[in-house]
């Protein structure tokens, strides 16, 4: 007899709790989510904002912590761009990053086409050969790669910065994965129409692959633009050096670095990869299947 009221009490208690949970997950969550997100956005954004402000100031202003833009942007610009030739470094970085991004995308498309739309003996072995390179970061090979590239006579050339990075397992796999999700009827129809594999790639596959191409382009462009150790080793002069290393010329080992031009350089060096990333953000997310398919 005593169990009946208890059961009733439980039932009575459960229903409002579910409501409370639902209410809790919508209304109160919003404000603390907003507070935490504001703080997070501020903390993540602060170093860059600080660098942008510092790039308009001189050392005296920077070290008196004024958070208003100063009058020294033109002077810092002249020092960084004109005197230290930052424009040349930017040009070198652009040439190398664009060449690798385009080249790697093309080679990866070709490899994906071969892996998905062809039958040939030993395919899984070739696939394994490509797959294994996933565990060989260039940094580990840097000593031997340096010897090889110097022996090829590529020291101080764009070739040294471009050719070794033109192929990668990541690219081949992204396209292989993407192509195998494309209906087989398309390739059958293309064959019936007498299309060559390259025509099929260009007219059918590429228009269906812009998301994957965009995702790969972002990764590659950012990766190559931000490369540091390899250009530091293989490029000796200033003529062919990339901007990541060019920033070093704005630092001085002795008494006091002039931080205004250095911060301006850091900001300018970050503009191309950030723009590429923001422009292709949607492709990046869906190419990696990071957004929900709806």
């Amino acid at each position: 007899m005593t169990s009946v009221p208890t059961e009733k009490a439980t039932q009575v208690r459960v229903a409002p709790r579910v409501q409370a949970v639902q209410r809790r997950s919508w209304i109160p969550k919003r404000w603390y989510a907003h507070v935490i997100l504001w703080i997070a956005c501020f903390l993540i954004g602060f170093p860059l904002i600080y660098a942008i402000i510092a790039s308009t100031q001189n050392n005296a202003m920077i070290f008196s912590y004024r958070f208003t833009p100063g009058p020294y942007l033109a002077r810092n610009w002249e020092l960084a761009i004109v005197n230290r030739n930052l424009g040349n470094y930017m040009l070198n970085s652009t040439i190398v990053a664009v060449a690798v991004t385009v080249g790697k995308t093309v080679l990866s498309l070709l490899a994906g086409l071969a892996f998905v739309y062809f039958r040939f003996p030993g395919k899984w072995l070739v696939f394994g050969f490509v797959l294994l390179t996933l565990m060989m970061p260039t940094e580990i090979l840097v000593v031997a790669l340096f010897r090889l590239v110097i022996n090829l006579g590529w020291g101080n050339t764009y070739l040294a910065l471009i050719v070794p990075f033109l192929a990668s397992a990541t690219g081949a796999f992204l396209f292989r994965q993407h192509f195998s999700n494309i209906p087989a009827e398309l390739s059958e129809a293309a064959q019936l129409d007498g299309a060559t594999p390259l025509q099929f790639l260009w007219k059918v596959l590429v228009p269906l692959s812009w998301n994957t191409i965009g995702a790969l382009a972002v990764i590659q462009f950012v990766y190559v633009w931000n490369m540091y150790l390899w250009p530091a080793l293989i490029i000796q002069g200033q003529e062919r050096q990339v901007v990541q290393l060019g920033l070093r010329t704005l630092m001085s080992d002795d008494v006091m670095t002039s931080y205004g031009p250095l911060m301006l350089g850091a900001v300018i060096a970050s503009i191309p990869p950030v723009i590429v990333f923001l422009l292709l953000q949607k492709q990046f997310m869906s190419g990696f299947q990071l957004t929900r398919d709806k």
Binding site: V14, I62, Y117, F118, W124, A167, V222, R248
Partner: protein, 398 residues
């Protein structure tokens, strides 16, 4: 070295490989003899891969115990290096993994010349600029070779065994692991916290997400340059805030411990965007009905997170651990080179930074190659872990 010892060692490796692969074939109910043969062949190949360049020098009578122990370790690495991929591929094929199916789509083009031409550039570049340098790193690691010098001397495994007794190298390994673990733990915890706020369908979610993930595009070098100013011990902004609010300042780039934390903070900032990005994606894929039924069972928000959401995120967490570890091993180089240059007193000299110093500042290629191989073995360990988990599925989509 000639005589019975090399033969014995090869036979030993072959027997191990034969037993191992025969067992794998038995489990999949395939021909045990074929498995034994494949295992023996791959183990022999692996043993020869490391021992031929060495000419079995670790087992010469005048060598010390440490060399012999190291010889067996190398033997194990060599056998594993060949046996593990062979084993992995064979099991994928036995299990019918579509990734390795020879038959592809029904509408496949025919002929072998076209695919060969299509793959030629990729395979050539991978062979010349990845496989050959790996091979060359192994052969360099047993030499006393200097940058630019024509002659080199064979020194057996001295470049490796000298690391075992070198306290400064131990220190480098400890620093690398400390910095790596700190970056992984702090970066993932903060990333998950922010992502669990940002994945919700709140007002301005897209703007928040963009403002949170853009540091992905910033380079580790630029991060180092910006934080060089922020951490400036004399007048940097961080010390300005610290001394005004707490009344003390930290000699960030002069004190060994503080310098390590400066590197960790910079790297966490830089890799935060990536962590948030992947956690947001992971959180969006957690089914709502699971959380709701947990809520009906009386679980509070924290319990729901810990017992429902977090376990479902484990593939993403695992993938992020691997990518953050790789970042900490290699990409931190540029941050360190701009912020501390490995100092003070080598306090921020990671394994990668040391390879650079030994190989290109001291110009000792043999030692640098040997240290590269130690790092290589660690990376292979990480990759094996990644392949064994669901991590690989996360990377390339389901």
């Amino acid at each position: 070295m000639s005589g019975l010892v090399p033969v014995l060692i090869i036979v030993l490796a072959a027997i191990f490989g034969a037993v191992y692969m025969a067992n794998v074939f038995r489990r999949y109910r395939r021909n045990i003899a074929v498995g034994g043969l494949v295992g023996a062949a791959s183990a022999t190949a692996g043993a020869l891969l490391v021992m031929l360049p060495l000419n079995f020098c670790t087992f010469e009578p005048e060598r010390q115990t440490i060399d012999r122990v190291f010889g067996f370790l190398l033997l194990a690495i060599g056998v594993g290096l060949v046996l593990w991929p062979v084993n992995w591929f064979i099991r994928q094929r036995f299990e019918g993994n579509p990734l390795f199916a020879t038959q592809t789509q029904p509408g496949a083009f025919k002929g072998w010349l076209t695919p060969a031409l299509l793959l030629l550039p990729t395979l050539a570049i991978l062979a010349i600029f990845l496989y050959y340098p790996i091979f060359d790193t192994f052969s360099l690691s047993v030499l006393l070779a200097r940058l630019g010098a024509r002659r080199s001397v064979f020194v057996c495994v001295d470049n490796f065994t000298s690391l075992v007794t070198d306290p400064s190298y131990h220190n480098t390994v400890i620093i690398t692991l400390f910095i790596s673990f700190a970056i992984v733990i702090i970066g993932l915890a903060l990333g998950l916290l922010v992502a669990s706020m940002a994945y919700q369908p709140i007002t301005g979610a897209r703007i928040y997400r963009t403002l949170l993930i853009w540091p992905y595009a910033i380079s580790p070098a630029v991060a180092g340059v910006i934080f060089l100013l922020l951490f400036n011990p004399a007048g940097g902004f961080i010390n300005y805030v610290l001394s005004n609010t707490f009344g003390f300042s930290v000699p960030w780039l002069q004190d060994p411990t503080a310098a390590r934390w400066a590197i960790i903070a910079t790297s966490v900032w830089k890799s935060m965007g990536f962590n948030i990005l992947f956690y947001i994606a992971g959180l969006q894929n957690v089914p709502n009905d699971l959380k709701e039924s947990a809520a009906i069972d009386g679980a509070n928000a924290l319990q729901r997170f810990w017992y429902v959401t977090f376990p479902l995120l484990s593939p993403i967490t695992f993938f992020l651990i691997i990518t953050n570890m790789t970042y900490a091993f290699f990409e931190t180089f540029a941050t360190i080179d701009n912020l501390t240059r490995g100092g003070p007193l080598n306090a921020t000299t990671t394994m990668m930074y040391r390879i650079y110093q030994i190989g290109f500042v001291n110009q000792d290629l043999g030692k640098a190659a040997a240290q590269s191989i130690v790092l290589f073995v660690m990376v292979i360990g990480l990759t094996v872990l990644q392949f064994r988990s669901t991590g690989s599925r996360v990377t390339y989509g389901a």
